[in-house]
């Protein structure tokens, strides 16, 4: 009996060890790649590029689509920020997806919106649109009031109403930096439209003041430890993860909170998939799939300097819901496009990107959490296993904490993040604590998401919004 247990324990020890080593190697490669890429541009004066791109002769008009479901606390700031963007020609379409709070009323009152008769080009099927409004004070601001159909359906309704060849999807609780749109469009314009979608960098702004639609600098680090840990996670995911994937045209996720797409290609793939939780990731995978199947020379890119500020959960219960939803979205998308995984027909996407998401991002939490359980079990099995367990602890520290701390340093060296030295040191210390409490928690929630995916739960996954601190806003 004990021999069988010994063999099982040994097998799992070797399996977790090899897996963790492979993950560490992958992250090391991504960190080095992101460092080389970002450090090169650190001192570059990007205002020069902004000036070149601002002429409407060159720029391509964009429809900005803001899906909103019960976003009453943040929607006005978000719309104001979008109205103050530096971009020659935009239209702003807020889609109220059957909110049950005051989202609809607040928008109508704040922006003096009037009902209009405007035809919709129904290129993608959506739930019934009840009315379309246009602002009397900002003539490029529209509101679609429609029956609830989920975020994907709301975005599709916005695409149908949009007039311009590009659309930008932005979450209702987000605030954009004024130059964000110019900078996220740069790869699209300068590549002669070879780039068909681009995503920007997302930063956390809980507790930040918003003054007439712009975030006030410097941004103070929140006192809420959960927010601090998410800040570290975002830096790691965006700075380390996406920069490296984008460099090699391996992007499968661009954030749903802020991304720009070429409308033509999105319509070709049928728009956002309704009924799926990770609709933003799924759309990118669909686009990549289409590009490979049609043998097109197109790219999807992540751009690190256009900044979108967003609120993150401040309560454990909200964070748990969010992480379950995200992981469920990832699993569902991978399952839907399983044909592409390890399939040479899909090139680097099929052979590198999707396997990375499957093995590291999707199965990672299950294996890692297994590693944590191994630590507990090993404690009861005596000397040999305790040694294995210690090795795992050290590998997990390397895998979790060290990479997170390195990402914080990388961010400070490569981006103008306006982080105060005190906040930087706090982030460093907190990142080192990640392995011991935050990571196991999120792993557990992501495993729950895995299970939810099997049970096919789907909803908007609302969270309690605090709203940005507002200044200079007319009541």
């Amino acid at each position: 009996m004990s021999t069988i247990i010994d063999r099982i324990m040994f097998f799992f020890a070797v399996f977790i060890f090899i897996y963790t080593c492979l993950a560490i190697l992958t992250y090391t490669f991504m960190l080095v790649s992101a460092f080389v890429n970002l450090r090169r541009e650190y001192h570059l004066d990007k205002r020069e590029l902004d000036e070149k791109y601002i002429d409407d002769f060159y720029a391509k008009p964009i429809s900005i689509i803001v899906p909103a479901y019960n976003e009453a606390s943040g929607i006005v700031d978000s719309v104001r920020s979008l109205l103050s963007l530096r971009y020659p020609q935009t239209e702003l379409i807020v889609v109220n997806d059957g909110s049950t709070d005051q989202t609809h009323e607040i928008l109508i009152k704040q922006f003096q919106m009037e009902k209009i008769n405007r035809g919709i080009n129904q290129q993608i099927n959506t739930q019934v649109v009840k009315a379309i409004y246009r602002s009397e004070i900002h003539h490029n601001l529209y509101l679609i009031d429609k029956e609830n159909g989920g975020k994907a359906d709301a975005l599709n309704a916005g695409i149908n109403l949009s007039r311009f060849p590009y659309f930008c999807s932005i979450d209702g609780d987000s605030v954009l930096d004024e130059k964000s749109l110019l900078r996220v469009m740069k790869p699209i314009i300068s590549s002669d439209e070879k780039v068909i979608a681009a995503g920007g960098n997302i930063r956390i702004a809980n507790g930040t003041s918003v003054h007439l639609g712009s975030v006030d600098y410097p941004i103070d680090l929140s006192n809420n430890v959960l927010v601090v840990m998410q800040r570290i996670e975002y830096v790691r995911a965006f700075i380390m993860g996406r920069v490296a994937l984008s460099r090699f045209n391996l992007m499968l996720i661009i954030s749903g909170a802020f991304s720009v797409f070429s409308k033509k290609w999105v319509i070709k793939v049928g728009g956002y998939s309704v009924g799926m939780i990770g609709e933003d990731m799924e759309l990118v995978v669909k686009l990549q799939r289409y590009v490979k199947e049609e043998k097109l020379d197109k790219r999807i890119e992540f751009v690190s300097d256009p900044i979108c500020y967003t609120e993150v959960p401040e309560k454990l219960s909200d964070l748990r819901k969010q992480r379950r939803r995200w992981h469920q979205g990832l699993v569902d998308t991978l399952w839907k496009h399983k044909k592409m995984i390890f399939n040479p027909k899909y090139g680097k996407i099929g052979l590198i990107s999707l396997p990375y998401f499957l093995l590291i991002e999707c199965f990672g939490p299950v294996i890692e959490l297994g590693g944590y359980f191994y630590l507990i079990i090993a404690y009861f099995f005596g000397q040999v296993y305790v040694e294995f367990a210690l090795i795992f602890v050290l590998l997990f520290i390397l895998y979790g904490s060290i990479f997170s701390a390195a990402s914080i340093i990388l961010e400070s060296w490569t981006m103008n993040t306006y982080t105060k030295p005190k906040d930087f040191l706090k982030l460093m210390l907190m990142s080192l604590s990640e392995t011991f409490w935050y990571r196991p928690l999120t792993l557990f929630w992501r495993c729950e998401g895995f299970i939810s995916s099997l049970r096919k739960n789907s909803d908007w996954g609302s969270m309690t919004r605090q709203g940005f601190k507002r200044e200079g806003e007319a009541e």
Partner: protein
């Protein structure tokens, strides 16, 4: 497992020590950068009125405005950029150019030799922004040295832009000689500021340009709306590449002038609907009664966009001719 706890623990300790050292370095760097930024802000605050008075007045340059260190130069750079980006007063631009050539050239030459790519790029941007022509020869000489290592796409583009701005006489030669590929957008940026005679000279060598360059050249001609380009554009109407014909038609429609209508009649029967659509756009320049017979044919077109444009042209300004006919 061959790896030992002691070994891994040592690795982690070493990595933690490295992180600690990097953290200390980062904090020191942040403090230094913050200090520099506040000194630059203070310079701007204390001197922006003096600069305004110098730019708008007739007095000669006050001695106090001559920079004494790099931070003051960076402050001046910010002030100059705000004027350049927001004003187009020739007198002010001239004063910025004179001052930069006299007092900033040495600083930017130093930056051109910097080991960091981004700092060298910034120096090239400033040479262009502040029109530091005294540095152009030295920049181009310096760039020859960079080529020995690795010249990036961005540097290559920026050097072409410098040629276009300061050395238009050799710009075409450089543009055709360099093998690096640029996008249509980049070609447009390069060509949009070029004088018409230089563009016409480039047009004579159009076939030596890559497709992106050829397309941009024709587009820029359309944007300029200069009748001098008309003969060249009409010469493309039988070009073997459809994109060239379509872009030429669009540019001609934008110039709103033709030498002889007969040159265009074959497009009415073109197998490409975009060419037929361009003809509708071109017909706008004719008087209503002259264009009607053509529009009548296009109203029967198999493509709905062509029919739609033809119908709206008749509807907008065609009632009279409809009655006459």
């Amino acid at each position: 497992m061959s790896i030992s706890v002691a070994f891994l623990a040592k690795v982690i300790i070493v990595l933690l020590l490295i992180l600690l050292l990097l953290s200390i370095y980062t904090v020191i760097q942040q403090l230094r950068e913050t200090d520099e930024k506040s000194k630059i802000s203070r310079y701007i605050e204390e001197n922006q009125t003096k600069w305004y008075e110098y730019f708008t007045g007739d007095d000669s340059l006050p001695q106090g405005l001559i920079p004494e260190n790099d931070l003051e130069i960076q402050g001046i750079e910010e002030i100059f950029l705000s004027y350049i980006q927001n004003l187009s007063d020739r007198n002010i631009i001239g004063k910025i150019k004179d001052f930069s050539n006299r007092y900033l050239a040495a600083y930017y030459f130093k930056l051109l030799k910097h080991r960091k790519w981004s700092i060298r790029m910034n120096a090239i941007y400033r040479i262009s922004d502040f029109q530091i022509d005294s540095l152009v020869d030295r920049l181009l000489k310096e760039a020859q040295l960079w080529k020995r290592t690795k010249i990036t796409q961005d540097v290559h583009f920026q050097l072409l832009a410098i040629h276009a701005q300061f050395r238009p006489e050799i710009f075409i030669e450089k543009l055709l000689a360099e093998p690096m590929q640029h996008s249509e957008y980049e070609y447009k940026l390069l060509l949009i500021g070029i004088d018409s005679p230089v563009l016409n000279r480039l047009a004579q060598k159009m076939d030596k340009l890559p497709a992106e360059g050829r397309h941009s050249l024709i587009e820029v001609m359309g944007i300029r709306r200069d009748p001098d380009f008309l003969l060249f554009l009409e010469g493309n109407l039988h070009h073997e590449e459809a994109e060239i014909r379509i872009k030429s038609l669009r540019a001609i429609a934008s110039i709103a002038m033709v030498t002889e209508l007969g040159k265009y009649e074959h497009f009415l029967r073109s197998p490409l609907w975009v060419e037929r659509l361009m003809i509708v756009k071109l017909l706008r320049i004719l008087p209503a009664d002259e264009r009607y017979p053509y529009l009548e044919t296009l109203l029967e077109d198999e493509n709905w966009q062509v029919r739609d444009q033809a119908a709206s042209l008749i509807a907008n300004n065609g009632m009279e001719s409809l009655v006459i006919s």
